[in-house]
C-alpha cells in the first residue's frame, strides 16, 4: 500500500540535482533495465525499474532506508540498453550518495570510504606487503596519500569517515 501522505513529490528533483542523478525523469518504465539485470535474475528484491518508479512517486524514506539500493553491481548493462538514456547506474549512485548523507550508508561502503580517505588506497599497506613485492622483484608502493585525505575530508559525509 502506498500512502500518498507519505510521499515526497520533490524527491525526484532532489535526485536529479545530484551529480549523477540528472536523467531520472526520462524513465517511461519499459523494464529493459530489470529484464537485463544480473542481480535481479538472482534476487527480485533488487529491481531497477521498481526503484526508479518508487523515486518518481516520491517514496523517499523507503528508498533511502532500503538495503536494495546497495545491491546494484554497477555492471552498466541497463545503462547501455536503456532507450531513454536514464543512466540507471548513476541514478543508483545518486541514491546511495543521498542515503550516505542521511546516515544510512551501508557498512561495507563505509569501510571502503574510510580506507580510501585515510590511506588513499583500498588497503592499509603494511611493511609485509612491500617485502613481498621486493621478493617478487616489484617496486615498492606508497603507504599514505595525504593529498587524498585532504581532498576528501570536507566532502565525505561525516557518518562515512568518523
Amino acid at each position: 500500500m502506498i500512502d500518498s501522505k507519505e510521499l515526497d513529490q520533490n524527491f525526484k528533483y532532489e535526485v536529479s540535482k545530484e551529480i549523477e542523478g540528472a536523467n531520472i525523469t526520462r524513465c517511461f518504465a519499459c523494464g529493459t533495465c530489470t529484464s537485463s539485470c544480473p542481480v535481479r535474475e538472482i534476487d527480485n528484491k533488487y529491481n531497477p525499474r521498481k526503484i526508479i518508479r518508487m523515486v518518481l512517486l516520491g517514496m523517499r524514506e523507503r528508498v533511502l532506508k532500503s538495503n536494495f539500493i546497495w545491491l546494484c553491481s554497477t555492471c552498466c548493462i541497463c545503462d547501455d540498453r536503456c532507450p531513454q538514456g536514464v543512466n540507471l547506474t548513476k541514478i543508483m549512485t545518486a541514491l546511495k550518495n543521498i542515503a550516505a548523507k542521511e546516515g544510512y550508508i551501508h557498512p561495507f561502503f563505509r569501510g571502503q570510504a574510510r580506507l580510501v580517505s585515510t590511506f588513499g588506497r583500498l588497503y592499509d599497506v603494511e611493511d609485509f606487503d612491500n617485502k613481498k613485492r621486493m621478493k617478487l622483484g616489484l617496486i615498492q608502493v606508497k603507504k599514505n596519500f595525504e593529498e587524498v585525505t585532504k581532498l576528501t575530508k570536507n566532502i565525505l559525509p561525516k557518518e562515512a569517515i568518523q
Binding site: 545530484e18 551529480i19 549523477e20 544480473p38 542481480v39 538472482i42 534476487d43 533488487y46 538495503n67 546497495w70 545491491l71 553491481s73 554497477t74 555492471c75 552498466c76 548493462i77 545503462d79 547501455d80 547506474t89 548513476k90 549512485t93 545518486a94 546511495k96 550518495n97 550516505a100 550508508i105 551501508h106 561495507f108 561502503f109 563505509r110 569501510g111 571502503q112 570510504a113 580506507l115 580510501v116 580517505s117 588513499g120 588506497r121 583500498l122 588497503y123 599497506v125 606487503d129 613481498k132 613485492r133 617478487l136 622483484g137 616489484l138 617496486i139 608502493v141 606508497k142 596519500f145 593529498e147 587524498v148 585532504k150 581532498l151 576528501t152 566532502i155 565525505l156 559525509p157 562515512a160
Partner: protein
Amino acid sequence: MKYALFLGCTISIREQNYEMATREVAKKLGIEFIDVEDFSCCGFPIRPTSAEASLLIAARNLAIAAEISEKICTLCNACTSTLTEANKELNNDKELRKKVNKELINIGRKFKPGLNIKHFSRILYEDVGLEGIKKKIVNDLSCLRFSVHYGCHYLRPSGIYDYFEDAENPSTFEELVETTGAEVVDYKNKLDCCGSPILGVEENIAHSIAKRKLDSVKENKVDALITICPFCSIMFEKSQKKIEAKFNVEYNLPVLYYPQILGLALGINIEQLGFRMNKIKPDALLGKVIGS
C-alpha cells in the same frame, strides 16, 4: 610505446601475478612503462559514498599523469572506467573542470585536458596489434582451450569508451587469446557480471552470480577461464572454493590473467609469470604446454 602505468590498489597488494606477467609481456612487445609512485586509488570504491569525492580522486591522478605522460595504461577494469569517465567529463565540461581545479589547487595539482587512458589489453589490440603479437609468438598453445571473461567495465558504459567494442557482441579479447594458438570456447552468459562489486553487500547473491558463469564455463571442459580484471579474477578464483562448498559443486577451474598465457606463448620463463600465486593450480595445463 610509452605509458604511465596505473596499477591501482588491488593488483599491487593482492594480484601481483597479473602485474608480473604484464611487465614481462610489455618488455617483450616493446611497451615501456613509467611507474608513478603518487598514483593513489582510482576513486571507484568511494563512489557509492560520494561521487564528488570519487571524481576528485580520479582528477588528482589524471593531474599527476599529465605531468608525466599523456598516455596512461590501466590493468583493472574498474580503474579503467573510473579514470576514463572522469577524463571525458573533465575534458567536455568546462564548468566542472573549473570546479574540480578549484579543489585540486589546494593540493598543488591541476587537471589538463588531452590525456589518453587505455587498458593494457586494448593497448595490445590497438597499439601493438594482433600481427605485432603473432610475430613474437614462439610457443604455440594450440593444445589448450580457454573461455574468456571480459568484465563489465572493460566494455561498459560503452559511451565512455567511444564504442571501441560492440558491447553486446565483443570479439577483441577472443582475438587476443587466439594469437597464442589456443582455441577460444564461447559460452552463453559470457557478458554477465562476475558479482564482485556486491560481494561485501550480500555474499550469497554475489556467489550465485559467479556460480552461473562457472557452471557454463565448466560445462565446456576448458583448460582455464581467462580474465583481465583483478576483481573478476578474485571472484572466480579466490572465491571458487567457497562457491563449491556453498552449492555442493566442483569446478577446480584455473583462472588465469591474459598476460600470463600470452607470456607462455611469448616464451617467457614460467617463474616470471607468477603462476605460483594462482590459487587454483594450473599445473595440468602447464604440463600440456611443456610436454608438447
